[in-house]
């Protein structure tokens, strides 16, 4: 086991390299730029392809090209860049192309600032571009998971032939923690049965999202929804801590889940039965696990750096069976421990 100190954004690139990604295309934006920097340093050393694109529209379309040829490709950006990529991501979903997109969220709307926020939730988790599609969304909460989930992202994107996001924030991108390097390196096999690689065996293939016939497009859309339903059934991931006897369950992903975890520990010391539910996948949202928790008379608290975007999904998952409270900060501010404790104490009637 090789352990080193590594920055979150660097861990993403390490994960991609060990996952056998051979193409990176990206455009600078704080707080995601180190992904671009590290890719520019390491991809060429491994003989792999790196291009600093002219825009995020170009990056995502370069990804579309490399993915069409069956290569493991990825890009990284932050809010404004992810917004620009949405057209391309819709095309990726429509053409069923695997690509990994890393979003190191910053505060918006507009230019906002470069502080951490989780306000890309809706544009990332709900589709974001035009059409009836969704992307797989993985939500790491430490430097180790920045790598591990990037690797998983490549696997799932390929398995389901759909774009996969790693959704993190400025804190996770910028922080350094001890990190254990992957145990194995993947040599991608490349499924050429559908790809267009400029070879004899793929000459017959076509990558496209066009269905002129309304019925055919409806059928395709239905097939996509079936695929998403299977992804929901098979790929939902979450972590639960002390939820069994909990009266109050904090729900949080990414960096907010670590603040929530500290709050849970502090609250438990004062005798309050507080648990933590952390979705590790945001699409698929771990609905079944949350529904199970909602069968008891608990109060949920969404701890998020956005305006209730996560809270909406909690309510949907449990069909509004239980109260869901909100603790949030916006604008680049992190949620503080005191804030979460106040909410917990308020609910507990203290």
């Amino acid at each position: 086991m090789a352990t080193k100190l590594v920055k979150g954004n660097t861990a993403v690139v390490i994960g991609a390299l060990y996952a056998g990604s051979d193409c990176f295309f990206g455009y600078p934006i704080t707080p995601a730029s180190e992904v671009l920097h590290e890719a520019s340093r390491y991809y060429p050393q491994m003989g792999r392809q790196f291009v600093q694109a002219e825009s995020e529209e170009a990056s995502i379309n370069m990804c579309y090209g490399a993915a069409s040829a069956g290569h493991r490709v990825f890009t990284a950006s932050s809010g404004p860049g992810i917004s620009l990529m949405q057209e391309g991501i819709s095309y990726l979903a429509g053409a069923e192309l695997p690509t990994v997109i890393v979003d190191i969220m910053r505060a918006g709307p507009g230019l906002g600032n470069i502080g951490p926020e989780q306000s890309d939730y809706n544009q990332v988790v709900k589709g974001g571009g035009h059409g009836n599609y969704k992307c797989i969304v993985l939500a790491p909460n430490c430097v180790q998971e920045m790598c591990d989930m990037t690797m998983l992202g490549f696997e799932l994107a390929e398995k389901w032939r759909t774009p996969a996001y790693v959704l993190a924030d400025g804190v996770l991108g910028q922080m350094i923690e001890p990190f254990t390097f992957p145990e194995k390196a993947v040599t991608p096999k490349g499924d050429n049965s559908w790809a267009v690689c400029g070879t004899a065996e793929t000459r017959k293939n076509l990558i496209s999202s066009i269905f002129l016939d309304f019925t055919q497009l409806e059928e395709f859309n239905t097939r996509l929804q079936d695929k998403y339903a299977r992804i929901e059934a098979e790929e939902a991931r979450c972590e639960e801590q002390q939820t069994e006897d909990a009266d109050i369950i904090l729900v949080a992903y990414g960096i907010s889940s670590r603040i929530a975890k500290t709050a849970m520990d502090v609250a438990r010391k004062t005798g309050l039965k507080v648990g933590l539910f952390r979705p590790k996948t945001l699409f698929p949202f771990p609905k079944a696990a949350l529904q199970r928790l909602a069968s008891k008379p608990v109060t949920f608290v969404s701890v998020e750096m956005s305006n209730g975007q996560l809270l909406d999904d909690i309510r949907l998952a449990i069909s509004c069976q239980r109260p869901v409270e909100l603790v949030n900060r916006l604008g680049g501010n992190l949620i503080t421990l005191d804030q979460v404790m106040d909410k917990i104490n308020h609910i507990a009637g203290k």
Partner: protein, 474 residues
């Protein structure tokens, strides 16, 4: 649109992708349209040059959106204007022959940036650009290439340069760049021009076959449907009016001297990756007793250039050397540009929650603004280390203050850049972080691994700081 048969070499004999059709070998293009002619020329060249098994054809958005119905090669359909970016991705990934086929709205308007940037990078792609002076697919709106005075549905009185600007000359623009290998404008308006176009298409594809770089062929092309004219009159319009604005000529041919551009091949081996990340000689962790370890939350702040972030990194390295849980989180971006920066370090025996320190056990303030900003956040019973050169300071009650002449001591110890190493030594000697001595030395070795000459100096400075503490701090 009515249909016309173009069945030829390099083109499928029938077009099932079109869907069920009474005329399975007829295209979707209007009679007299230039797209069909250009398809034929490209298809023929691909077949004659034996390139179909190594070619990826990219269909744009525009009337040629269905180019994939026809070309007997690998096909990719892409978003409006993005063909050069997609082509870049395909080319970099595969190093095969890649063709971007685009109209004037697609290439010169919505996709102008991608067009110029791919050309400027000298991507190994062949761009075929159909200039018919209008947006064909969407009903004949004005294009960047519409001639002055030419009437379209969005310039009913003719293009007026005062409000709509002038025709954009793509060959000329591309020719202003250094990287392109081949730039030529041709037309498909009569037999002689078509023969010339055939030669240019072949040339471009030969350059791709030989992997020499970027080629751009603009094709003046009829769109009788949207020009509201006949095929014959449209061809006259090309020869007499378009060709005046857009001269038919070769702009550049560097194919004789251009060399094959070699792309690297990917190495996926774990050995190479592990070597690149220098995983071979990671020293074993330093054992120490963590039974009573209390989580230590540290904030370090000062001017950029005072080694604030790297002092935080050194502490993080020391913690990691001692196999502790640790996190480092910097202030990032413009805040740094303002001159001050800070970082949070948390050292713990248990998994760390939020990596941001709001109430530090230890504040290291390298300058007065940082001291003033954070001193009231320090936990009761906590410590503030600050540079003694600030002079008199007021500290909150219940907090221990240690004035360290860090800058002066560093200079005395032989380096004016090592005030942070002095602070590091003071931290060690005061025992605030509860980390073993060996971990601090290890941290310095790791921190200066790229400049090994500085290691002995900094180890000496560390020791110097510790002696200063023993003599001066009770």
């Amino acid at each position: 649109m009515s249909e016309k048969v173009i069945c030829t070499k390099g083109i499928y004999p029938e077009f099932p992708r079109k869907g069920p059709s009474a005329a399975p070998a007829a295209t979707h293009y209007c009679p007299g349209c230039g797209h069909g002619v250009l398809h034929k020329l490209i298809g023929e060249a691909l077949a004659d040059l034996g390139l179909q098994d190594q070619t990826v054809m990219i269909s744009p958005v525009g009337c040629a959106v269905f180019a994939y119905y026809y070309f007997d090669a690998g096909n990719i359909q892409v978003a409006h204007g993005r063909a050069p970016a997609v082509a870049t991705g395909v080319s970099r990934a595969t190093d095969k022959v890649v063709i971007a086929y685009q109209g004037d709205g697609d290439l010169a308007s919505i996709g102008l940036n991608e067009t110029l940037q791919a050309a400027n990078r000298g991507e190994k792609i062949a761009v075929f650009f159909v200039n018919n002076t209008v947006y064909g697919m969407t009903g004949g709106q004005m294009a960047p290439t519409t001639l002055i005075g030419e009437k379209t549905i969005t310039c009913l009185n003719g293009r007026d340069p005062l409000t709509q600007g002038y025709p954009l000359h793509m060959c000329e623009l591309i020719n202003s760049l250094k990287a392109p290998v081949y730039v030529e404008r041709v037309a498909v308006s009569d037999a002689k021009n078509i023969r010339n176009a055939r030669r240019a298409v072949r040339k471009a594809l030969e350059i791709q076959r030989d992997g020499k770089g970027y080629t751009f062929v603009e094709v003046l092309s009829p769109c009788p449907t949207n020009l509201g004219t006949t095929s014959v009159k449209n061809n006259d319009f090309i020869n007499n009016e378009m060709a005046k604005e857009f001269p038919i000529q070769n702009f550049r041919d560097n194919s004789a001297t251009a060399e094959h551009v070699v792309r690297s091949t990917s190495d996926f081996s774990k050995e190479k990756l592990d070597a690149m990340f220098e995983l071979a000689d990671i020293p074993a962790a330093i054992a120490h007793n963590t039974a009573n370890f209390e989580e230590a939350q540290v904030k370090i702040a000062g001017f950029g250039g005072q080694g604030v972030l790297s002092l935080g990194i050194m502490l993080t390295q020391a913690a990691q050397a001692a196999d502790m849980k640790v996190s480092w989180y910097p202030s990032y971006g413009p805040e740094q540009r303002g001159g001050t920066s800070n970082c949070s370090v948390i050292v713990s025996a248990k998994p760390i929650g939020s990596p941001v320190v709001y109430h530090p056990d230890l504040l290291v303030a390298m300058n007065r603004p940082s001291l003033e900003r954070f001193k009231n956040d320090v936990k009761p019973g906590g410590t503030i280390m600050y540079d003694a050169n600030m002079g008199d300071v007021e500290l909150p009650v219940g907090v221990k203050g240690v004035a360290v002449p860090a800058q002066a001591l560093a200079e005395e110890a032989g380096s004016d850049k090592a005030a942070n190493t002095i602070m590091f030594g003071v931290m060690l000697e005061l025992g605030i972080t509860q980390l073993p001595e060996a971990a601090f030395a290890r941290a310095l070795e790791a921190n200066f691994a790229k400049k090994p000459k500085l290691i002995p100096l900094n180890l000496a400075i560390l020791e110097f700081a510790r002696q200063w503490v023993r003599k001066n701090v009770k």
